[in-house]
Point group: C2
Chain length 116, copies 2
């Protein structure tokens, strides 16, 4: 049997890990890096978000080990750490898409019923 405290601690860790994904800017960064590595300036330009904001989000991704950095002269290139991350996000997006579709059809049903 696994102790309750341990289970809670693991869940906390995992929640922390997932919280890296719960911000739209960070998701945009992840998708951008999944395409190819970028440095901070490139991300700043591509996403049209000011540099300190990009850096702050990169830090939270780095702290959780989702991205890693390679110094390249005076700039720093950020890489996505694990391809499975993209797979997981793809799955989540697919689930989300289906949920939204489902709701849309429910809404239509309801409207039709009311109008009937």
């Amino acid at each position: 049997m696994v102790s309750k405290a341990l289970i809670q601690e693991i869940s906390q860790l995992e929640a922390d890990f997932c919280s890296a994904l719960s911000d739209p800017t960070r998701l945009l960064i992840i998708y951008s890096l999944a395409d190819k590595p970028h440095n901070v300036t490139e991300l700043t330009n591509e996403l049209d978000i000011i540099q300190p904001t990009i850096s702050r989000h990169l830090k939270t991704l780095r702290d959780r080990g989702l991205v890693y950095t390679v110094r390249n002269g005076s700039s720093i290139t950020y890489h996505l750490g694990d391809k499975r991350l993209t797979q997981a996000l793809d799955l989540l997006r697919a689930v989300m898409r289906d949920r939204l579709k489902h709701r849309a059809s429910l809404a239509k049903e309801t409207k039709a019923t009311i109008n009937a």
Copy 2:
């Protein structure tokens, strides 16, 4: 070309969806429901968390469409909405495990280097 505003909106939606996963209690609930459906009282007992807290977290899961409910007499049974959710979480956990392992070995390396 997809408009920037649309991309941002989609990312916001997805971040919102992911934020459902960024709380340890909700993860415990999801894992519990992945095993089998439960009603609120069962979750309360199994996870040893007070009922209003369980209900609140269930609401956020329900709002995002991750779980659905079936009324069963006077109680309400909660079901996990999509098996892919578990798959995605498994992937994320695997990534996290590897990251932690990697860091542990890095820490060991560092220590060895310092002590050398």
